[in-house]
């Protein structure tokens, strides 16, 4: 009732001029008994994992299929574990190699309608994927396109020069965001400049200048091998059909045997005394961007699920964690997000948000308080239940589409996850206890391994970051 009277009092000011307070009926609908409580939620599983059928060709090429006879489309992908995470010192080489392979196939294509032009090329820290969406009757032509890219590419100097020029333009077009800049800066400070996380997936112009064109041919020969690759299918195709089509095109693919480079160890976390606890990029304006970063487990590690739930609890729930605290404090919370970006060999936890500059200091304080709480006080059962449900809900939504299903297959292969990883996901999520979360946060999100990075106007940032410690200042780009 309090809110009604105050609302009406406020309304009078306006309606003296126009309609009058009495016309504002704030209780237009009568109450009913069933409105007292929200309907209870029925139980049951939240996640239905699609069935994956698998096979392997004689040359070692893996095949994974999610069959859906009713699907109107077919998604096909060639996935390979060639990526920047293969080791330090080759930043951008994986993307450059893949781009030359695709350019080479496009140059050989006879017609603009050749499906090779419809292939998209994707990269992350764990691998490279060439994929396309087609009608089911185009399956053979789609595989032809992928085989044309993957088998016998040319690394001709003209193709390489063209790709270098395009990547330069592409990099200039993309590497300008505040969050990416803060993320690379934080990763470099945590792990050192030689760590893949400190570089864009495709490398910078400077990174690409570090290798010559012939490095792509060497990289291809070492990394693109049938036994390190997979063909993934989602949609209207059976495993038997997929195997037949793949055999016709890939069975004879046997690249010259070269010794695979040893897996180089990634640089460890830099000692705490070699880095400052806060980094800042001074720009200007009325708003500031905040990023908290820390190491987190690699994709297949035992703590993967706890890391994801810790991110949910810290940054992604609307009414608790940092988002809830900022929302109830001053409204500006919609940009808060947290995640553990996991790859095959490493992971980076980040929590980020934008805020008005005068509230930056309060927001930083609230974030640090939430982090301390996560390390020391087990989350309430209801908060953990919300984190579990929200996390599983997002997965369920993803698995409702063929795009999400293909992402699942790619994730499983690129990150070398066990075949039952997703089948066990819901059980593993439900097995996480409040104390697991606290132990995780105490181990991975401890003060000595987290770093804060921010962008905004100098004096506004200084106020907010002073509570953390010494600040190292940078210029944008």
């Amino acid at each position: 009732m309090t809110s009604f009277f105050s609302s009406c009092a406020a309304a009078m000011v306006l309606f003296l001029v126009s309609a009058g307070c009495t016309s504002l009926d704030l209780h237009p609908n009568a109450d009913q008994a069933f409105r007292e409580f929200a309907p209870p939620l029925a139980g049951g599983s939240r996640l239905t994992i699609p069935v994956v059928k698998r096979a392997r060709l004689a040359n070692g090429l893996r095949i994974a299929v999610i069959e859906d006879a009713s699907a109107a489309t077919l998604k096909i992908a060639f996935a390979d574990r060639a990526a920047s995470d293969s080791g330090p010192y080759n930043f951008g080489l994986a993307e450059f190699t893949a781009a030359v392979m695709r350019e080479s196939a496009e140059a050989k294509a006879n017609s603009p309608s050749d499906l090779v032009h419809a292939v998209s090329q994707r990269h992350n820290q764990s691998g490279t994927t060439f994929q396309l969406t087609i009608l089911p009757e185009q399956a053979a032509a789609g595989l032809d396109a992928l085989a044309g890219i993957v088998e016998h590419p040319s690394f001709d100097a003209n193709l390489c020069a063209k790709v270098r020029a395009e990547l330069k333009v592409g990099y200039a077009a993309q590497a300008t965001g505040v969050i990416p800049s803060l993320t690379y800066l934080a990763a470099e400070t945590l792990f050192g400049a030689d760590h893949p996380l400190a570089h864009p997936i495709g490398g910078t112009d400077r990174d690409r200048a570090e290798f010559k064109d012939d490095a792509a041919a060497v990289f291809y020969a070492a990394r693109y091998q049938p036994n390190k690759s997979a063909l993934l299918f989602v949609g209207s195709i059976t495993l038997e059909q997929a195997v037949d089509l793949a055999q016709e095109r890939f069975e004879t693919w046997r690249p010259p045997a070269v010794a695979s480079p040893p897996q180089e160890a990634l640089p460890p976390l830099r000692p705490e005394q070699q880095r400052k606890p806060a980094l800042a990029i001074a720009t200007g304006g009325e708003f500031a961007t905040f990023l908290l970063a820390a190491p987190c487990p690699a994709r297949g590690a035992p703590d993967t699920i706890v890391a994801d739930l810790a991110a949910e609890l810290l940054g992604n729930l609307m009414q608790s964690g940092v988002r809830g605290r900022l929302r109830s404090a001053f409204g500006s919370s919609y940009t808060v997000s947290a995640q553990c970006r996991q790859s095959r060999n490493s992971g980076l936890f980040s929590l980020e948000f934008d805020t008005e500059l005068p509230r930056f200091s309060t927001a930083v304080h609230a974030t640090l308080a939430e982090l301390t709480q996560l390390r020391t006080i087990p989350p309430s059962p209801s908060a953990l239940a919300a984190a579990r449900a929200s996390y599983l809900g997002r997965h369920a939504e993803s698995f409702g589409t063929s795009t999400g299903e293909l992402t699942m297959l790619t994730d499983q292969f690129s990150n070398a996850l066990p075949d039952d990883f997703y089948a066990q996901l819901e059980a593993r999520v439900n097995a996480v206890t409040p104390s697991d979360v606290t132990e995780y946060a105490a181990r991975w999100l401890k003060e000595s391994s987290t770093i804060i990075a921010a962008e905004g106007e100098y004096s506004g940032l200084t106020d907010g970051l002073s509570q953390i410690g010494e600040v190292q200042w940078f210029e944008m780009h």
Binding site: S3, F4, S7, A11, V13, L14, L24, L26, H27, P28, A30, F34, R35, A38, P39, L41, G44, R46, T48, V51, E67, A69, A71, A72, T73, P112, T133, L135, V169, A172, A173, Q174, V178, T283, G285, E286, F287, L317, M318, Q319, G324, R327, S328, F330, G331, S332, Y334, D354, T355, E356, A389, S390, G393, R394, A396, E397, F399, G400, T401, T403
Partner: protein, 450 residues
């Protein structure tokens, strides 16, 4: 949470709609045909079963948007959208979110368009009754929880969203819209949108809600894993007691304002953009298919042209939007650091001119295939399909089947696409340049690009 740029619908499907694999409790049951009906209080209801996953998409939309904002209060519809998330007679503040999150909902959000405000989420199958109850709370019982504190918080949040949107997605389109439609048009935005939030009042927000958030101005769409009979029972139980009311009608300006050719603006932004827009006739499904194929052909032709230093873009997109009072198509390019506004705009103009003369059947077939695949993919996504049906019921007055739009895409001829090109002869173009340090800049909407 504001989407002025929602792309008007495209699409349809190939074969008859079949059910998927046995993945849900109801998977073995045949799906009845979709049902559309109206409650006695005027609520428009659409229910479509699809049992491929144990999920459903729920959307409730109201026939109100930024076009209904009172003069000088651009953004009030958006603010009211936010306020309806802050509790109701039977829900404490925040309980809407926590209830849905604990139920395992995802994609929980709201958007405010020029004509429409929509609330949506993807829910586990077992949460339909809960979702309907929560949305009926919003419709019937949120306004009495609007108070000064909530109002001030959301006023600030809306202002921040405005700033973020401009930073991340640019402002060129909104500036262009005002120039194209004239400053007095209901869809036009003032150039200092953020400052107009200061003119809003709590009582204004309450009155706005009471005017427009009524069942006879609302549409409910549910698509997914449920039984129609259950859904009808719950819809009737939770919504039928809510009262309808006379809804204010949005009218077009009496005289069409002459579009500005030069318009001075001051804006904060981190982006460098070129936006170009053209007015087009209000679309039927066939017109929509024609426009989609033309715009895809233009972008397909443009892509290889945008790889020089001068024409480098970080992204380029098209949209065709059909709303009650205006329909338009636009192309928006975010420039790379080396990109020049004039060069990119010239490339776009050149693309239309070239296609008018040289668009070939093989080109059309290629973009048609992409359009069809895109449509089929969007249809399989429950939330995307629910959005499509909501928009179709708004624009065409009826939902569509997957095949409807697919057939239109299949039927469009080369001559039909070419015939559209003259509509794009004269564009209004705007450019926005970047500024370091996010300080305000001045610019001009004109053909004199930097």
């Amino acid at each position: 949470m504001r989407a002025i740029r929602g792309r008007l619908l495209v699409g349809a499907g190939a074969a008859a709609l079949l059910l998927g694999q046995a993945r849900s409790a109801l998977a073995s049951e045949p799906c009845p045909p979709p049902v559309r009906y109206t409650l006695s209080n005027g609520l428009d209801v659409y229910l479509e079963e699809d049992h491929r996953q144990p999920l459903l998409a729920l959307r409730v939309s109201y026939g109100v948007g930024e076009g209904n904002d009172p003069k000088g209060q651009k953004g009030l519809a958006h603010l009211v959208e936010h306020l309806t998330f802050r509790g109701s007679r039977h829900l404490d503040e925040g309980q809407y979110w926590t209830t849905l999150e604990r139920a395992g909902a995802s994609g929980i959000n709201g958007t405010t368009d020029v004509d429409r405000t929509s609330y949506f989420a993807v829910l586990p199958a077992q949460a339909l009754e809960l979702g309907l109850w929560l949305e009926s709370e919003r419709m019937g019982f949120t306004v009495e929880r609007f108070d000064k504190r909530r109002f001030l918080l959301e006023q600030r949040t809306v202002r921040e969203e405005e700033r973020l949107r401009v930073d991340q997605h640019g402002a060129a389109f909104e500036i262009l819209l005002s120039a194209l439609l004239g400053p007095d048009h209901p869809y036009a935005s003032p150039l200092d949108r953020m400052s107009t939030t200061e003119n809003m009042t709590l009582s204004g927000a309450q009155a706005f809600f009471l005017d427009y958030y009524r069942p006879n101005n609302a549409r409910l769409v549910v698509i997914g894993d449920f039984r129609t009979a259950d859904a009808r029972r719950w819809v009737d139980e939770y919504f039928s007691a809510l009262k309808g009311a006379k809804i204010p009608i949005l009218r077009a300006p009496s005289a069409t304002a002459k579009p500005a050719q030069r318009l001075k603006f001051v804006h904060q932004t981190l982006t460098r953009e070129v936006a170009m827009a053209w007015r087009v006739p209000r679309s039927s499904l066939r017109e929509t298919a024609r426009l989609e194929l033309l715009m895809r052909a233009v972008l397909g032709y443009l892509n290889p042209q945008l790889k020089t230093d001068a024409t480098a873009v970080s992204s380029i997109s098209w949209s065709c939007t059909s709303a009650h009072l205006a329909s338009l198509c636009s192309i928006n390019a975010l420039l790379a650091s080396s990109g020049k506004h004039r060069a990119v705009a010239a490339a776009v103009t050149d693309a239309f001119a070239t296609l008018a003369e040289h668009l070939q059947q093989s080109d059309l077939n290629q973009v048609r295939l992409h359009a069809e695949l895109n449509w089929l993919e969007s249809w399989e996504d429950l939330s995307s399909r629910a959005l499509t049906q909501e928009a179709m019921m708004e624009l065409l007055q009826h939902p569509i089947a997957r095949d409807d739009y697919y057939r239109e895409l299949e039927a469009v001829t080369l001559e039909e696409v070419r015939a559209l090109v003259p509509l794009f002869a004269d564009s209004l173009t705007t450019s926005v340049d970047t500024v370091s340090g996010r300080s305000p800049i001045e610019g001009l909407v004109s053909s004199e690009l930097p």
